[in-house]
């Protein structure tokens, strides 16, 4: 199994706070994009910051960015370069009408604009308006689950499917600020483990500015399926402190991998906090915790590897030194978009990288990572993989995307048993097996389950995958609302494929058409009322009338199964509370 060792699956909603906005703004202004586009994004972020208490609305951010883009002179100029037919499609976008556009429709518009403007979809060298729009689109997905689905769809899907280390973030002012929001992020991320058993490896963010950071970390590692710790010192803390020592001691004792953000970009609280991520701090830490597994995210910055030799005195050079001295020092190549500019940068970068991957002292310490979706404003996840696969040998790519990640994570390899965190991960899957009902586990999981729970112990077979999922409230309540009409009282897991014509209400063609029409109206209104009474709301742009019309068409269709009706319901309703048991 190949593993992307550096990715993010939070949506902006799950980390959005006043603090986040300022930090995001710092990051955006340094993107390598046309000035006018950055100005639009930065202006909208700035406006949201000044709104104070009303900032918690990434959907609004996406809407405002799209409005500003469409209204800009620069966008008009880009349209001129398109063919007449493409131009007609885009010229009709009604700027005022965007306010009323439902989220789903807004997503469609992003895609339309992007498709028309993106000339060379698969080329990692191109940098386009669609990248920045798509970045906002991914970030404004309604849930962590949907961001996760976005990335998982782009990964390899064979028997030994690709995996992902997903890093959470804790951007906090300190104390107990935004704790509920952070706990929700952890719970939502934990749910995604159950969606892709054995493929998603979440790291819990530790920020010592938060009062309860240690107990939250302990809980995540012990009972929520988290397998590592992410730290981000430029959010306002030093990596070496008594509080962090307690974290390192805990992780070292249990071989829990730690990953630290380590380049001079990314998010930071203030420019003065950037040096907190300097890997030089780690010589002292690793002397005191020599068995601590630490990965320096981004390898100190990919640009230092585009010079040959590696930039002297750079963070990257420091990391290479640490790798040679400490057996558990790793670095990942995420967000290394610099070589994609081609020319000498690309040639130097791969000469350096290949040297590191083939040097006996460093070859076991390099990890593959992409920084999804924060790198999305540069290129797609799939393109990132393809770029590196195409320039490394099979053996080299296998080393950084398969062999080294397994060791870093503590996955079982040959006779080497699974690490403590991975065993906890397997226990988490076992304890929540009723909520799996999605993909079948990847091969490494099954032997570990048997080892922990005895020969013959197996996780349940997948059901209808994401289409009929007990972790999805819409699916659960579609079932609950109609359960009374399912004869034989089938359980949730087995009722997803039940066709609607088997429900009690079905009498089409066997009664007067007028009675049947009334019956359809009745079923549609009842289901709409059920959802509204069970902590659901209509999606933006949806009304009860519109919902009932959509449901009526579904109830009239004997070819539909319960899971397909649930999909219709997903296009109508959103949960206003969390799934239990996360």
């Amino acid at each position: 199994m190949r593993i992307n060792c550096h990715a993010h699956t939070f949506n902006l909603q799950s980390v959005f706070s006043e603090e986040t906005l300022e930090i995001l703004l710092h990051r955006v202004v340094r993107w390598d994009f046309p000035e006018w586009l950055l100005k639009i994004v930065a202006d909208q972020l700035g406006k949201l910051i000044t709104l104070g208490g009303e900032y918690n609305d990434p959907d609004r951010l996406a809407r405002e960015i799209m409005k500003a883009v469409v209204a800009s002179d620069e966008y008009r100029g880009l349209l001129e370069s398109l063919s007449a037919s493409e131009r007609v499609k885009l010229e009709g976008i009604d700027v005022d009408g965007l306010e009323e556009l439902a989220s789903l429709a807004l997503g469609g518009l992003f895609k339309t604009v992007g498709k028309a403007l993106l000339k060379n979809d698969g080329d990692a060298r191109t940098r386009n308006i669609v990248d920045i729009l798509d970045f906002v689109l991914v970030g404004t997905q309604p849930s962590v689950r949907q961001v996760t689905e976005t990335v998982m769809k782009q990964l390899g899907s064979g028997r030994d499917r690709d995996g992902l280390i997903t890093l959470t973030m804790d951007i906090t002012k300190g104390g107990d600020a935004d704790e509920a929001q952070f706990l929700k992020l952890l719970a939502d991320t934990s749910q995604t483990v159950l969606s892709y058993p054995g493929r998603i490896f979440p790291f819990v963010a530790v920020n010592p500015r938060r009062d309860r950071h240690f107990s939250i970390m302990e809980r995540a590692l012990n009972s929520q399926g988290f397998v590592g710790v992410k730290i981000y010192p430029c959010l306002g803390f030093l990596p070496a402190s008594p509080a962090m020592d307690q974290v390192y001691a805990y992780c070292q004792q249990r071989s829990v991998p730690v990953l630290m953000h380590c380049n001079e970009g990314g998010f930071y609280r203030s420019p003065g906090d950037i040096p907190n991520c300097n890997p030089a701090h780690w010589r002292d830490i690793l002397d005191r915790f020599p068995d601590l597994k630490i990965c320096f995210g981004h390898f100190g910055g990919g640009d230092h590897l585009t010079e040959r030799p590696v930039t002297a005195g750079s963070w990257t050079e420091t990391i290479i030194q640490l790798m040679r001295e400490y057996p558990n020092a790793y670095a990942d190549i995420s967000y290394h978009a610099g070589p994609m500019d081609g020319g000498d940068a690309e040639a130097h970068y791969f000469a350096n990288l290949k040297e590191l991957i083939n040097d006996p002292e460093t070859r076991d310490h390099v990890l593959f990572g992409t920084d999804f979706f924060l790198v999305r404003h540069r290129l797609r996840e799939k393109s990132f993989w393809q770029f590196f696969e195409g320039r490394l040998t099979k053996a080299e790519f296998k080393r950084i995307a398969e062999q080294n990640p397994r060791r870093y994570l503590g996955l079982p390899v040959g006779n080497k048993p699974a690490g403590w965190a991975i065993e906890n991960y397997a226990r988490f899957l076992w304890d929540h097996q009723q909520k799996l009902a999605l993909e079948s586990p990847v091969p490494w999981v099954e032997p570990l389950i048997e080892k922990l729970y005895g020969s013959g112990s197996k996780l349940p077979k997948p059901g209808l995958s994401l289409n009929w999922n007990r972790a999805n409230r819409v699916h659960v309540h579609t079932y609950k609302a109609l359960k009374v009409q399912l004869r034989g009282s089938p359980k949730f897991a087995t009722s997803g494929k039940t066709r609607l014509h088997r429900l009690d209400y079905w009498n089409k063609g066997l009664e007067s058409p007028a009675i049947w029409a009334n019956r359809l109206s009745n079923e549609s209104h009842k289901l709409d009322a059920w959802f509204l009474n069970n902590d659901f709301a209509h999606l933006k742009g949806m009304t009860s009338m519109k919902a009932v019309n959509r449901l009526r068409a579904a109830f009239d269709d004997e070819t539909l199964a319960m899971w397909e009706l649930a999909a219709v319901c997903e296009s109508i309703y959103r949960s206003t509370r969390d799934v239990e048991g996360g």
Binding site: K491, R502, L510, E511, S521, H525, M545, N549, R550
Partner: protein, 286 residues
């Protein structure tokens, strides 16, 4: 009386198309089922259709006791290539429809799908529909009427225990204006008249989840009719249909989901001739 044996192959083809730009309140639905009929060694083709445009005038998103007022236009029919095979009139109507749900949703205690525990109980006593309609109805053989109708409808879909006994029905008063009727002209009975109608249906689950019995009855009584009409038995009509439907657990051959056997006897105005029809239906779709 004509006796027919009809085999009906139904290809599920259902769609709903919200009118462009007006999904908020207006919906167009269409349902078309092609048919193949056989009788007395003759084969015939036909099509059953059901079209509706409904526009919501007043509505609310209430959770309990929801009420909706709509303007609607609908059309149904079952034309066949040979006129004698059709058992349903062509109908086109338009009017107002007031729907009152007798329903309050329960509130689930948790999100465990296999738990039946409720934090708050609900109830479901069905739904009442009141309608005022202007209608044109035409038998395929030729007779046709204009009618004004006031109707009361009730639907109930739950079947647990003995609840299957509760019928769904429409009771209607029609003021009928005869547009064309050779028979009535023959009897000199072409004045407007009052008609009372009752349509009702039952679905009875049998032996678990696969087999169900169905009954569909439709009566009409025409008042103030000339003696000649009464003597000819044209002042009252009845249509009685009953049958069985079997839904397979897994589709047979990958596409046969259910089959049904129905027999109907009688007529639905404006048809003048009673007939008995056997329907053999195969519900096929991928």
């Amino acid at each position: 009386m004509k006796r027919l044996t009809a085999m009906i192959i139904v290809v599920g083809w259902v769609a709903a198309t919200p009118l462009q730009g007006a999904e908020r309140q207006t919906q167009f639905t269409h349902d078309v089922e092609p048919k193949l009929l056989a009788a007395d060694s003759e084969l015939d083709g036909g099509v059953k259709f059901d079209l509706a445009v409904k526009h919501e005038v007043l509505g609310n998103a209430a959770r309990a006791w929801r009420r909706v007022l709509k303007i609607a236009a609908t059309s149904q029919g079952e034309p066949t290539l040979q006129t004698g095979f059709s058992t349903q009139p062509f109908v086109i109507d338009g009017g107002l429809e007031l729907t009152q749900l007798l329903f309050k949703p329960a509130r689930a205690a948790d999100d465990d799908p296999d738990s039946d525990e409720m934090a708050e109980a609900g109830f479901d006593w069905g739904q009442i529909d009141l309608g005022l309609w202007a209608r044109y109805e035409k038998e395929q053989a030729g007779d046709s009427n204009f009618a004004f109708a006031a109707q009361l409808g009730y639907v109930y879909s739950l079947k647990q225990g003995m609840r299957w006994l509760i019928p769904s029905f429409i009771a209607a008063y029609n003021r009928v204006n005869v547009d064309r009727s050779d028979v009535r002209e023959l009897f000199g009975a072409t004045d407007d008249f009052d008609r009372y109608r009752l349509d009702a249906s039952w679905k009875i689950p049998l032996f678990g989840s696969n087999l169900s019995a169905h009954a569909d009855v439709r009566f009409s009584w025409d008042r103030s009719q000339p003696q000649a009409i009464v003597a000819a038995g044209l002042d009252e009509s009845q249509y009685l249909a009953g049958g069985l439907r079997y839904a397979f657990n897994e589709p047979v051959f990958g596409f046969l989901h259910a089959c049904r056997l129905m027999v109907s006897d009688g007529r639905i105005p404006p048809a003048n001739v009673d007939q008995t029809t056997w329907h053999i239906g195969f519900i096929v779709f991928q």
